[in-house]
Symmetry: C2
């Protein structure tokens, strides 16, 4: 399977991206990669690697879209950027089934919609990371930032798309869907959530189990948690901030003490490492942008080779599972009022 990779996206591009792509081809013999970016820079890195040359090709792109640019303007104007050329390569070839980038989230999302388009019937594509839970299973949080303002239909579509995603990605049959809300009772919520609740309850494509309070997102009791992109962004970043704050406070506590604390910390190092690893939602790949015509995986901007490799293998798994076709089949065809 051919996967297009934005060689210039992310804080550690192109080096870590190219290395991650090479690693993916080494790990999986069915992976074929098209790296899009500064040809010379990419080839210089490849020259240092041992890999199957028949499975990695390079498409030259002279420009890069940065985080500081307006995504819409950049996608329209930077025709020689790695991102625009990558989407063109994705659409030009029937063999190319998926795309991975660690670049500007906004530009990746806008590019996907403008260059590729939505699956028929999908009101709005949505960004969906998989977060770790206390029980060890993952939970898909959808939407996490693509749509700051939402209508109830959007959230219904997020639930349908994220359910297909949870099945493909986590191997869960009949994923349990929760609606992010400020209480568990049916009548709770802001206007959006109050109107969304009956839609989710009535839809036979999903296994809606009720409201999910934010404190229970990581409980493991849900496979999918649905929300508007603003609330999802708040939840995701609060979780990140709180975990970092706790680790820093523990570290400060250890360093403020004497030898006893340092020996204790040494003894518990594997525990801390394991907790940190469990909470690192980037370790197993990136966030999937659900609802566009081919698989798009947005890897974290800080991704190193391991995360890039994981994102590529994740993209392959999703394409193999025909996630886009499944979403197309599950989205109710009549709901077109919100399409633009």
């Amino acid at each position: 399977m051919k996967i297009i990779v934005d060689a210039m996206g992310g804080d550690h591009a192109p080096e870590q991206v190219v290395l991650g792509a090479v690693d993916a081809t080494v790990e999986d013999k069915d992976v074929f990669i098209t790296l899009v970016g500064d040809e010379k820079a990419v080839k210089d890195i490849l020259a240092e690697c041992v890999y199957d040359e028949s499975r990695i090709e390079v498409i030259d792109a002279k420009e890069v879209i940065s985080n500081d640019e307006s995504p819409t303007v950049a996608i329209k104007q930077k025709k020689d950027s790695s991102l625009v050329k990558a989407y063109e390569a994705l659409m030009a070839s029937k063999d190319a089934e998926a795309f991975v980038s660690a670049g500007s989230t906004g530009a990746v999302l806008v590019g996907a919609v403008l260059k590729m388009g939505r699956i028929k019937g999908v009101s709005r594509p949505a960004l969906a990371p998989v977060l770790p839970t206390l029980k060890g299973n993952g939970v898909v949080l959808c939407d996490c930032g693509a749509n700051a303002d939402c209508k109830p239909t959007y959230l219904l579509h997020f639930a349908i798309m994220a359910s297909a995603y949870a099945s493909a990605m986590l191997g869960v049959e009949n994923p349990r869907v929760g609606l992010l809300n400020n209480g568990v009772e049916e009548h709770k919520g802001n206007d959006l959530m109050k109107e969304t609740y009956p839609l989710l309850k009535a839809d036979e494509h999903i296994n809606f189990v009720g409201n999910c309070e934010a404190r229970d997102i990581l409980s493991g009791d849900f496979d999918v948690v649905v929300c508007d992109g603003f609330s999802g962004n708040v939840a995701l970043k609060t979780a990140e901030g709180t975990a970092n704050t706790m680790l820093k406070l523990i570290k400060e506590g250890i360093y403020s003490g004497g030898l006893k604390y340092k020996l204790g910390a040494l003894a518990l190092k594997p525990v801390f490492k394991s907790v940190q690893k469990k909470l690192d939602y980037n370790a197993n790949g990136g966030a999937c942008f659900l609802g566009v015509k081919k698989v798009v995986v947005k890897s974290h901007g800080a991704s190193k080779r391991n995360s890039i490799k994981a994102s590529i293998l994740q993209a392959k798994l999703l394409a193999e599972n025909n996630i886009c076709d499944k979403i197309g089949q599950a989205i109710p065809k009549k709901t077109t009022e919100d399409e633009e």
Copy 2:
């Protein structure tokens, strides 16, 4: 100063509430308490305590409003409930300056508005807890759940009220106000945040420093973070859920290992205790309900005597600082379009 206390509110009422009230009178000789609740039960607990009898009085109330009831219906119908009678006692006496309850949040808020009313000019009262930060200062998160749907004017008022609160409660001059948003750039946000940003920027009563991403709420770079009640609830509960998840994962890691881990954990016990204490935002009192005519402190439902005592002393501090008068002076008088 006389403080009215709902003796029947919370998971550990009346015992822990009464004990906390007694503790508050022991710690501060200027505290006078009116306990409202089942007279016999309250007096039985008091009979076991050593305290200044001239400073604690009891008002009998036969009913209790539970978490499962509709707040509005309960406040209107349960005229002999501890909450309704407490608000009546609060309004009946000029000496009574503040109210503390660990009961149903919804009922405490609805009761405050219906039985006491808003400060003139305030569009919507808001619930504001103080969260701990990495730098050791506190941050006021406002609104945290009283208003699930908000207009930009509400958020402006939250900013003004929470600034007065941060000054009184945390002793911060010119508190730095951030707007909870999905990015730091000025143009970021959902419609609500985009419309609120210029209002906060233009208002001379507050020290608006820009957008605050959810990962930075606990950074210590803000004294006040303003948001709608839905997002605030998501942030607060996600922080709570993430902290609990981390502690549980660390514990599990320790118990899964051998003696080395257990010795390490023993050595680090004071560190874990200290981190847990730092993150416990209930230790220093409760959430203040800002914008009503007298001081209302909502203590956590799980409050024990220490939290109740802290909430009572917090309520006294706020009343001494004339927080309600200060809010009344700071709220722009012309903005009455959103008043009902």
